[in-house]
């Protein structure tokens, strides 16, 4: 584990990018499908929250 911590910053960056990208993308799709305007923002927040949770699971415990 301690050896892999060298790449921790890169791994964290990857999670933080893909979280909002995926759930923000889902929100964007819902927005264009249903014609609403709030799914994108909530998807971004949800994705970022989930990504932070994932980072905590992997590196914080």
């Amino acid at each position: 584990m301690s050896r892999n911590n060298e790449g921790a910053a890169w791994t964290i960056l990857g999670y933080l990018l893909s979280g909002p990208l995926f759930w923000g993308g889902v929100g964007y799709g819902l927005d264009t499908w249903l014609g609403t305007g709030y799914f994108l923002a909530s998807g971004l927040l949800l994705g970022m929250g989930a990504a932070l949770y994932l980072v905590w699971l992997r590196f914080g415990r």
Binding site: A8, A9, L16, P20, Y28, L44, L52
Partner: protein, 67 residues
Amino acid sequence: MTGTLNLVGYGLAAIGPGLAVGMIFSAYINGVARQPEARSVLQPIAFLGFAMAEALALFGLVLAFVL
């Protein structure tokens, strides 16, 4: 000259997280330099702090393209 002001806004918004990441790792390096055995305690805290600060920068990045 053409372009979008979103990117200027993103540049300004990235200042804060940039400073924050620098401060977090400077504190981490200071702590480990003073007390090397505290490394395993400080490392998760430093990386979580880094993740929090970086999250804000990435919000700015995403919103600069989305808005």
